[in-house]
């Protein structure tokens, strides 16, 4: 049976384009789940998780019954069956007035390690939690931001690539299996490649 953190990570993979294993490898999943809970009115995150659940898990309602609001939506479950789950999640969630902004904030959370406050209109319509303000979640979260991996780079001030690595071409975009699967992504070689000084001369 799928627990809440698993559902959070699975949905996060669909939203971010990074495999679940990669997300778990950041060590930030539980921290982000807590940060998200703290920044949203009660029940909103579960609504989002329910909307992002695939048919098998969704109908079985693991982790509690789906909320009424979520059940009324054409969730991923309704659109599944051969459809690209990522596109389905996008259609079901990102276009939704209530869940869309939350999902986008979740994407930014994973990419930046920072929470981005929801818009004022959203607060007016759905309520506000005290922690829904712009903030870096933690020193670790900043360093775990996916944006640096997407760039083939490293967070400024951490996870540096080693002396002279900057003289080599950036890593090519590493291909990964479809998000949601457990493809293993090998880390880049930590050591610096040999630097050929005078390569331009």
């Amino acid at each position: 049976m799928e627990n809440r953190i698993d559902r959070f990570v699975r949905l996060s993979a669909l939203l971010t384009g990074f495999a679940q294993l990669h997300l778990l490898g950041t060590g930030m999943a539980e921290t982000y789940l807590r940060a998200t809970d703290a920044a949203l009115p009660a029940g909103v995150l579960d609504e989002l998780l329910a909307a992002g659940s695939p048919p098998s898990a969704g109908s079985a309602s693991p982790g509690g019954p789906a909320l009424p609001g979520a059940a009324a939506r054409p969730g991923v479950s309704a659109l599944a069956g051969g459809t690209d789950p990522e596109a389905a999640a996008g259609q079901a969630i990102l276009g939704d007035a209530k869940l869309g902004p939350v999902a986008r904030t979740l994407i930014l959370l994973w990419y930046r390690g920072a929470w981005t406050a929801l818009p004022q209109e959203w607060h007016s319509a759905y309520g506000a939690a005290p922690r829904d303000v712009d903030h870096v979640v933690s020193a670790e979260a900043y360093q775990a931001g996916l944006q640096w991996d997407a760039a083939g780079a490293h967070p400024a001030g951490a996870r540096q690539q080693g002396y002279g690595a900057w003289a080599s071409p950036p890593a090519a975009l590493e291909t990964e299996s479809a998000p949601g699967t457990t493809a293993v992504r090998l880390p880049r070689q930590a050591g610096a490649p040999t630097v050929t000084e005078g390569a331009r001369s």
């Binding site: 939203l15 990074f18 596109a87 986008r104 400024a156 001030g157 975009l173 479809a178």
Partner: protein, 611 residues
């Protein structure tokens, strides 16, 4: 608070534990003199634990500007670039233009967050008036400073190859080379060099060929010969323990500014750690508030300082330190502020007057091919060719700094690009990731740092209406960017456009879309500029008392046992970052002070002895 320092006699009392104060303290203690260093800010960066806390502070900071790891003490406030927009903060900006730079009041000073560029000034920079009919000449020539440049490069630990640097008339002695090999050029530098090396631009009718050139950097690389790189410092202030770790090479953290996580980049704490600790006393959290002068002799007879225990509180006790010789090495602005607050100078004094900077423009774009942005030292190369030339008779010279940090400084990338892709373009999932992978590594950034000439209207003053929490004056800054500099800005912006075209880089320069920067106008064109942190000119050096504040040894004309040191002594700054030149001057001053203290007699006939 017990204050042992107050009851001890020192040969030299130094205000400021930045690069100037540290170099002078190191050399005078090794010459056998007892030195007290008073530092206004906290000394926390001097221990590994403390330094790590600053690093964590940076990681968790929402805004990662130059000051983000270095929060000020209440007792020692400092300017913050974020204040320029709000108009609040430490500086009182009285205009007409905004002064764009900041500095840090902490042990180690602004070397804690400098980029590390160690360019020598050009021979022609010292002779601007003679050669081009503009600005001022220095009372020193390149040849006078050359030996001290070499020594400064070894004190700081500069990585460069002489073969790259002997241009624009810069000469090195036979057999000289930098203590460490040059830092490898970034992939981005190499891609740019492939497309633009040899292209020509025309300035005031003069055709100049461009080249991407490695610049000297105060970062550890591969040592030459017997040179031993200096690593992270771990000092215990109360005991005399001092560990300097083996100098780790630059690992490419891409955060020279605001903090090098491994101290591969030079900071002044390394120099202070090399002083003779038996002769040195360092008091952090000791704000120099006043220089006391004997009204009869005109000699300084003490320095008043305010000691505080809690960086979060202005509570303090007042003390006086005494020595034979005094050195103000507190920063160009702070030196002027202290002298003015002490009532020194008088109506016709030049103290505080002639404030300069390198107002700089950003240009940013999207390369047609990946250049590997957001990796490596913040910058490893520049375009230096427009630092010299006959055009300097008409407008300012400038230099291009080529960034390895993508659009971080200009738009707040990569975060801003991610936010744009998610919220404006509506991307998510693998499409989002692929979009970022296809664009972020192509981010290119130049900083175009433009020379500024001395004007007495650009000044640091004080005003009793504007004081800090300790009751000390806040610097009031009058600042104007004149046509000579905006002419350089216009030329620099045009060269940037030509370089982008030549390299096929899509020009994305749009100050409205980026961070907020102050602006100046010229012929209807608006230039958004930022400061480079290159303060200078506030206690100018010269040959004669009436025309300058200090002599060529940075010794006060009016108070002969007082030295006022740093970039405040610069009559002009050319286009080079000031740290190396002020380090060379500090070494020259330390040499002179050693001789004067040893002789225990006046330097010249007829001058009162006070040493």
């Amino acid at each position: 608070m017990t204050e042992a320092a107050e009851h001890e006699e020192y040969d030299v009392v130094i205000a400021g534990a930045g690069v100037n104060g540290a170099l002078i303290a190191k050399h005078l203690t090794h010459a056998g003199f007892r030195v007290l260093v008073l530092e206004a800010g906290p000394g926390s960066a001097w221990s590994l634990d403390g330094y790590s806390r600053h690093l964590d502070h940076f990681y968790a900071a929402a805004s990662k500007g130059p000051e983000s790891p270095w929060p000020p003490a209440v007792a020692a406030p400092q300017p913050d670039t974020a204040d320029i927009r709000s108009g609040a903060g430490y500086f009182v900006q009285s205009g007409p233009d905004k002064y764009g730079s900041s500095y840090t009041r902490a042990q180690g000073g602004s070397t804690l967050h400098w980029l590390g560029v160690c360019l020598r000034m050009l021979p022609e920079d010292f002779e601007l008036r003679s050669r081009f009919g503009v600005g001022h000449d220095w009372p020193l020539r390149y040849g006078d400073l050359e030996p001290y440049y070499g020594r400064a490069e070894h004190e700081i630990g500069v990585a460069a190859d002489v073969a790259d640097q002997a241009h624009h008339g810069i000469e090195f002695p036979d057999g000289y080379d930098y203590p460490m090999r040059r830092i490898p050029l970034s992939f981005s530098d190499q891609v740019l060099a492939d497309t633009i090396d040899g292209m020509r631009v025309t300035l005031e009718g003069e055709s100049i060929a461009l080249q991407v050139r490695s610049y000297p950097a105060g970062r550890n690389s591969v040592p030459r010969g017997a040179y031993q790189p200096v690593g992270a410092v771990d000092a215990d202030v109360d005991r005399h323990d001092m560990i300097t770790h083996l100098g780790e090479r630059c690992a490419g953290n891409t955060s020279c500014t605001p903090i090098c996580p491994i101290e591969a980049k030079y900071n002044a704490g390394k120099t202070l750690a090399q002083a003779d600790r038996g002769k040195l006393r360092v008091l952090a959290q000791a704000v120099v508030s006043k220089v006391s002068v004997d009204p009869v002799s005109g000699m300084v007879d003490g320095i008043e300082y305010q000691r505080y225990a809690d960086p979060a509180s202005p509570r303090h006790t007042v003390h006086t330190a005494r020595g034979r010789v005094y050195v103000l090495a507190a920063h160009a602005v702070e030196n002027a502020k202290i002298l003015l607050a002490s009532g020194l100078g008088g109506d016709h004094s030049l103290i505080g007057k002639g404030l300069i900077d390198h107002p700089a423009l950003y240009a940013w774009g999207l390369s047609p091919v990946p250049v590997g942005a957001y990796r490596g030292p913040l910058s490893t190369a520049g375009i230096e060719d427009l630092r010299a030339g006959a055009f300097r008779a008409r407008h300012a010279a400038f230099r291009f700094d080529i960034g390895n940090d993508g659009w971080r400084a200009t738009t707040g990338g990569p975060d801003s690009s991610v936010v744009d892709a998610v919220t404006k373009q509506g991307l998510h999932g693998t499409k989002l990731r692929a979009h970022l992978a296809a664009t972020l590594p192509r981010h290119v950034r130049f900083s175009l740092a433009v020379e500024q000439l001395r004007s007495e209207a650009n000044a640091v003053t004080i005003d009793p209406r504007h004081v800090d929490a300790m009751g000390n004056p806040r610097p009031v800054i009058s600042y104007h960017i004149d046509d000579y500099t905006t002419g350089g800005m216009a030329a620099a912006a045009e060269v940037a456009r030509q370089v982008f075209r030549q390299a096929g880089i899509e020009d994305c320069t749009d100050p409205e879309a980026g961070g907020w920067f102050p602006s100046v106008r010229r012929d209807g064109e608006v230039f958004r500029y930022h400061g480079m942190g290159h303060f200078g000119g506030t206690h100018v050096m010269g040959h004669r008392a009436g025309e300058s504040v200090v002599d060529t040894h940075q010794r006060s004309w009016e108070h002969r046992n007082l030295y006022v040191v740093g970039s405040g002594s610069f009559p002009t700054m050319g286009t080079s970052n000031p740290t190396l030149t002020m380090a060379a001057l500090a070494l020259r001053t330390a040499e002179h002070m050693t001789e004067a203290l040893a002789a225990r007699q006046p330097i010249r006939q007829g001058e009162p002895s006070g040493f």
